[in-house]
Symmetry: D2
Subunit: 346 residues, 4 copies
C-alpha cells in the first residue's frame, strides 16, 4: 500500500536524522535549556524579523493547542474558532478538559472572518444576561486550515484587526504552516504571521521532523510563565534538545521551505490530474491536502493500492476523499496514483 491518507506516515527528513545522529551522544542540559534550542529560537526570530519573540518547543499539535489556549484564557472564557477547527473536532475535548468551551463559528472553506468575531462579541455584550454565557477570550485559526485552504494576507489582516479591536489574542495553528507558506496562492510571510497573530506555531511533525511544534509568542502577556504551563500539562520534554536540534536543522538553508515546496508541487500535480479528469473538489485545492469528490468505482479501485481518508459520503455514489502529499512523498508514487486515476477514469 502507498499511503496518501496523511502527511505523517514517515519518520523525518535525512538532514534532521543526520543532525540527531551527530548530536546524539553530546551531553546537554534538559528541558530545552540547551544551545540547540537557543539556536533554533534565534533562527525563528530572524525568520520573523523580530528579536522580541518568545519561542517554545512542544512535541505535538494538540499539546501546543491546549497549552497555548489555556495560557491565554480566564476561567470563564472560551475560544472562538471555525466549526471545522481542529480543537473543535479532533482533540477529544482537550480544550474542555482545561475548563474552557470551544465556541465554533460557521466557516467557509474552513475559515472565519473578522466580521464574525466582531459580531460574536457585540451580540454577547448586547445580551442583558451576558454573564450567563461564555465570554470569548481568544480566537483560534489554522493556516492552512483543516480543509487545506489558505488565509490570504488581506483575510488575516482583517481577522487580526477584528481581534485587536475586540481585545482577543489571535492564535494560529500552523501544524502545516510550511505547506501554506510555499503554496502557489499564498501571499503571507512568517513575519506577517508574527505581526498579525499573538501566538502561532511552526509545525514540524508534518513538515520534515520526527515530531515537534515551535510555538512563537509575540504578545508578552501570553508569554508570561509559559514554561510552567508546558510542564504542568505534560508538554515539557526532558531531552528538549531533540526539538532544538530538529528545528535548527529545519531552519538551516531553508530546509523547511524547500521540503514544503516539494509537497505543494506534488499536490499540484495531483490536483491538475483530478481536475483534468473532471473530478470536482469539495474545497479549493490550495496546499498539500486535496479533497476530491470521487464516485464509488474510482474510490474502490484506488483503495486497493492507496490509502486516503473518506471524509464524507455525499450520496450513494459520491464521497469526499482526502489525499495528502508531504515532504516525504515520492514523485513515483504520485505518478503511479495519477496513472491509476487515469486508467479508472477512461
Amino acid at each position: 500500500m502507498i499511503l496518501f491518507h496523511n502527511d505523517y506516515s514517515e519518520g523525518c527528513h535525512e538532514k534532521i536524522m543526520e543532525a540527531l545522529i551527530a548530536t546524539n551522544m553530546e551531553q546537554t542540559p534538559g528541558y530545552s535549556e540547551d544551545r540547540y534550542c537557543a539556536a533554533a529560537a534565534d533562527k525563528i526570530r530572524k525568520c520573523c524579523g523580530r528579536e522580541d519573540l518568545a519561542v517554545h518547543f512542544l512535541v505535538g499539535g494538540t499539546q501546543a493547542n491546549l497549552t497555548g489556549i489555556t495560557a491565554a484564557l480566564w476561567p470563564h472564557q472560551g475560544v472562538l474558532c471555525a466549526d471545522s477547527g481542529h480543537v473543535n473536532t479532533h482533540e477529544t475535548g482537550a480544550i474542555e478538559a482545561t475548563g474552557h468551551r470551544v465556541l465554533g463559528l460557521p466557516s467557509v472553506h474552513g475559515k472565519i472572518r473578522g466580521q464574525q468575531v466582531r459580531e460574536y462579541v457585540k451580540i454577547h455584550f448586547a445580551d442583558p444576561s451576558f454573564e450567563h454565557t461564555v465570554q470569548a477570550g481568544m480566537v483560534y485559526i489554522s493556516n492552512p486550515t483543516e480543509w487545506g485552504t489558505l488565509y490570504s494576507k488581506a483575510e488575516l489582516e482583517d481577522l487580526s484587526s477584528a481581534c485587536r479591536d475586540c481585545g482577543l489574542p489571535l492564535f494560529l495553528d500552523g501544524a502545516r504552516l510550511g505547506y501554506g507558506l510555499m503554496a502557489k496562492q499564498n501571499d503571507l510571510t512568517m513575519a506577517d504571521i508574527a505581526l498579525l497573530c499573538d501566538v502561532f506555531y511552526i509545525g514540524g511533525t508534518k513538515v520534515g521532523a520526527l515530531f515537534g511544534e515551535a510555538v512563537v509568542i509575540s504578545n508578552p502577556v501570553l508569554a508570561r510563565d509559559f514554561r510552567y504551563i508546558m510542564k504542568q500539562r505534560g508538554g515539557m520534554l526532558a531531552k528538549g534538545r531533540l526539538l532544538g536540534v530538529q528545528f535548527d536543522a529545519l531552519l538551516t538553508d531553508d530546509l523547511y521551505f524547500t521540503i514544503s515546496h516539494h509537497a505543494d508541487q506534488l499536490a499540484e500535480q495531483l490536483r491538475a490530474k483530478f481536475q483534468a479528469l473532471g473530478y470536482d473538489f469539495f474545497m479549493p485545492a490550495q496546499s498539500n491536502q486535496l479533497f476530491p469528490i470521487l464516485p464509488a468505482s474510482v474510490r474502490v479501485y484506488l483503495a486497493e493500492k492507496y490509502t486516503f481518508i473518506e471524509m464524507d459520503r455525499l450520496d450513494e455514489n459520491l464521497t469526499v476523499c482526502r489525499f495528502c502529499t508531504s515532504w516525504a512523498t515520492k514523485q513515483e508514487n504520485v505518478d503511479a496514483l495519477c496513472a491509476d486515476l487515469e486508467k479508472i477514469s477512461e
Copy 2:
C-alpha cells in the same frame, strides 16, 4: 563539563538510533497503530509473563503520570503518595490541573508502607464528616524512588495487599525502572510488578531511549478508553511508531536490562568511592542516583568540572548532592570523578 546531574543528558543508545534510522522512511499508520508498537507491546507482555496486559506508549513521565492518574480517579478522589513523590514535588501541579488533590504521606527513604494506606483510609471513613475531605482513589509510588531507593518484593507485596484491601488501584512510576530491576539489592521482576500493581510504566527516556514511557495496565477498569484520555491530554503521538520502534529495540536481546546494569555498576563504583573516603549518604545508595553529603570544599572543587544537583543545604558546610549515572555514562568519566574526589579528600 562532565554531566552527572541527571540521567537524560544524552540522546539514545546506538541500537535505538539504528532502529530509528532503519525504519525512518517506512510508511506506517499513525497514533501507535503500527506494527512496531504492536511488537513492542507483545515483548512487554512476554516480559511480564501475561497476555492480558494493555500497553500504551507516551512521550514522557509527567504525561504518563497525569494520564494514568486522571483515568483512574473519580472527581472527588485524590492520589496517595510519598511526600517525596514526583507528582507531589516536581510536576507544577499537573495532577491538580486535572482536578485532583495529591495526598502526600510521610515517607522513609522515599517509600510508603501498606499500613499508612490502611490508616489513611480508616481515618478518612472514621471522620463523621468524611465527605468534607478528599477520598483516596489511587496510590502512586515510584520504583526506584525519587531518592534512588528500592521497594523490596516484600514491601511491594505489603503495599499491594493494602491497596487491594482498600479498593485502591496501585500505580508505579517506573521512570527509572531498569535501574531498579538491575540493582544489586533488587528482588523484584517485571512480572512481579505487573502482578502487584494495577498500572505501571517502563521508563525509556532515562533508560536508553530518546524519549518514551510504556504504560502497562493490568486492571481492565483502568484500561478502558485509555486512548481517549491520552489524546485529550495531548499525549497521543502522531508518529507513534517512534515509541514502538524504540521500545521494540529496548526489549530486544535484553538491551533495556544490559544498559541499566551498566549504569548501576558505575553507580556502585561511585558509591564505593564516596564511602571509602568517609562521606555519608543522605539516603541508602541503591540504584543509579546517589545522594552523598559533601562539605563545601569538596562540593566547590567538584563543581568546576562536574555537574550535580545540590538538593539541600544541611548546615553551613554540608550539602546533600545528587549524582546520577545512566546507560550513557562513560567509565572514564566515573574514573575521573573518583580520582578528583580522592584528590580533594586527601
Copy 3:
C-alpha cells in the same frame, strides 16, 4: 411594573414561609443530616413509588446540573443534549469548567429523540479515529424544556430506551417540573420519570420555594459518593435543613402540584387570549412559559407596564417574546395583561 419575564420574581409560598418560621430557632445538625431533609426525601420517594431512590438537596439549578453531570462522566466523556438545553446556553460554560464538553444536538421544540442518541453513538464508534472525538457519557434533557414544551410519556420512553441501549444515563432537569406535571397535555407522572431517568431533579426555586432543587437518583452508580461531589463543588448547604423544610412543605398536601396547577391555568388564560387575538406562537404553548410573536407596536405598548423577555427579533417588526406565569402570579395581573393586550390589538 408587573413582572412576567421569569418565574422567580417573588420569594416563597406562604406555607413554606410558615414552615421556615416555625422551625427557625430549632437546633438541627448541619449539611442536610437533619430530620426535615429525611422527611422530605421520604415524601419524594413515596411520590415516586420507590424506596430505593437517593435524594439530595441543592440550592440551584446550575449547581444541580453541574454536580449531577460531573458525577456521571469519565474524563473523556461529554453530555448530549438539545442545542437549546440550559447547560448548553445559559450556564457560562459550567459543564466545561468541570472538564467536559456539552454535545448539542439539533432539537425540535427544545426536545431530542432517542434516534438522535442512537445515531450519535453509532456515528461516533463508526469513525475509525473515534478516540479523537468526545465520547457521549450521559444524556441531559429538561422537562418542561427551555421552550416550555413537554416530553410525552411515549417520547420519554423512546429516549430512555435509547439511552439504556447505548449505556448512557439519562438526566432530567426538572427546574420547572411541577409546571410540566400539571400541564393539560402532560401524561407523565413523577414515578414514570423516576423509572425512565437515572437522575432528575424536582425544581423548587421556580415552584414555590425560596430556593432549592431536590436531586433524585435511581441509578446506584451515580448515587455513589454524591455528597462528596456536592461539597467539592460548593453545593453543600451548611443549614441544609432549609432545603428539607421547604421540600417537606412543598410535598405536604400536594402543595407542589396545586401551586403548579395555578401557574399553568393562568398561562392557559394568557395563551387563549394571545391566540384569540391572532398572535402566533414561536413554540407550542404547553406549560407556564409562553413564546408569542409580537409586532413592535404591541411589544412597545406592553413594555410600559409589564416585563417580559425579547428572545429573538424575527424581522423589522416581529419579535419572539417570553411571558412566564408562576405559583405567585396573581389573577388580577393576568387579567390586566389580557385587557391591555386586547386594547392594543383592536
Copy 4:
C-alpha cells in the same frame, strides 16, 4: 440535646426573618440585580469607608472560597494558606477541582506570617527548576481562624505588606468575621480589612443569616468579570435578593455587630469557667470557638446533654474538644453547661 458543636444549628435572627417576610411577595429582578442587594452593598461600602469596592453575594463559604480563588489564579498557580486553613482541610478538594494546588504552610494558632510568604516566594524562585513546582498566586487566611484565633492589626499589616511585596493578592475568609471583630482582643476594623486585603468576605451563614456570604473586592483586577465566574461555578442565586435582604438587615442598626458581640460574650463566660476549673486550652480562646482539653470522664458526662466536636485525642484520657457559641446561643444553655461542668469537675 443542646447543640454547641457548631455555630449554624439554628435558622436566622428574627430581624432577618422579619425582613424576608416583609419582602416575600415583592417582585424583583433576579440574580442580585435588585435594590436590596444594591442597598446592602452600599452599607458594606460605607462600613468599610470606601466607595470603590465591588460587592457580590454568595450562598456559602466553600462557594465563596472557590469562586474567589479561581478568579485570581493563573492556571499554574496555587494558593498559599495555613495548613489548618479551611480550603486545605474541609472542602473535599474544592480548590483542586478548579485546577489549583493548595499550598499549606505550617501555622501557629492557625495563623501564618508575612515572613513565611516571603520565604516561600524566595525559595521558589531560587530553585533553578522553579517551573517544575507550583507558583504561589494568592494568599488565603481566615479571620477568626479555624482555631478561633485572631489576627492582630499588626499581624495583618505584616502579612498584607509581604503579599504586596510579592505581588500576591490576599484573600480573607471571614465566615466568622463578626465574631472576630467583636472579640475582646480584636484591634481590627472592617475598614482595615478592606484596606489590607484584596478580597474578603463577611460571613452571614454563621452570623445571623439563613445563609450568605458577602464577598468584598478592593483589587479591581480580581473584580473583573466576577459575576461570570459566580455563574459558571453554580454560585449565582436566582432569587439573589434573598442575600441582599439578609445583608441589608444585618447591616442595619449594627445588627451584625450586636449579635456577634452576644456570641463572644457567652464564649467568654464559658472560657472563664473552663479556665477557673483548671482545664487547659489547645488554642488561645479568642472568639466564639473554644478548644478546651477535656479528660474522658468530663467529655463523656457532657456528651449526654450537649453536642461538641472531638477534634483530636491527645492521649488515652485527654481530648481536644470544640464548643461554639453563636448569635443564637441562649444564656440559659451556657449557664446549664457551666453548671454541669462545675458538677463533673468537683
